[in-house]
Symmetry: C2
Subunit: 128 residues, 2 copies
């Protein structure tokens, strides 16, 4: 459907959340979903859902923020990328649309990560 193009190449380089210094990235859509992304515009806020294909799906508990002083916690109470179904959820601002390529700000997903869905942010009932 789409993939992330990012200067982040390794998990170790990626911040834990997009607002913790993540870079701009491109979402590169396949032609078969061109109609679905045709109304994305610079300035839109959107939720990008990714499949974190380098995550460890066997992990059920983690220490949040990789902090050894914090107790082991079930991953559904955390934002660990390692979890049974590693779907990443990223709120981004659309910065530019160029054909099938969409530039977004502050995306912590690494290069090559599959994009599985994009949803416009609905801030107010009037946005619906």
């Amino acid at each position: 459907m789409a993939r992330v193009e990012s200067p982040l190449r390794e998990r170790a380089e990626a911040p834990k959340q997009g607002d913790e210094g993540a870079p701009e990235a491109w979402l590169v859509f396949d032609a078969d979903v061109a109609a679905a992304m045709a109304d994305l515009r610079a300035g839109d806020d959107a939720l990008v859902l990714t499949w974190l294909d380098r995550a460890d799906r066997s992990v059920l508990t983690v220490r949040p923020r990789s902090d050894p002083s914090r107790p082991e916690t079930g991953v559904f109470s955390t934002r660990s990328p390692d979890r049974p179904n590693p779907i990443g959820l990223h709120r981004v601002r659309v910065l530019e649309v160029d054909g099938l390529r969409v530039r977004v700000g502050d995306l912590e997903a690494i290069d090559g990560t599959p994009v599985v869905d994009v949803k416009r942010v609905l801030e107010r009932p009037g946005d619906r």
Copy 2:
């Protein structure tokens, strides 16, 4: 992983968003993810991700809110459940935890919908 138990039986009964009159529902987890959900507590706010298995994955454009006066819009700029990868995103409050069963408020997903992930809501950096 888990499924929704809800009084909503048909898509036509379901509100478009959880805060538009959706009922309480139970998330019923499989035993193999018990450790992942063990730290969910009444009062937590969480994002529930579902696989909207009754959605039409061939739909690329819709009229938002099913309103015929609105223009055909690419689904990535809408919250249509019909989309190439129909992942539902639902913000809920946890009301009760009973073993592998978790009662939540305001869930518009219909009975039997697969739950694919749960993520705690991080409101503030101090929550991370």
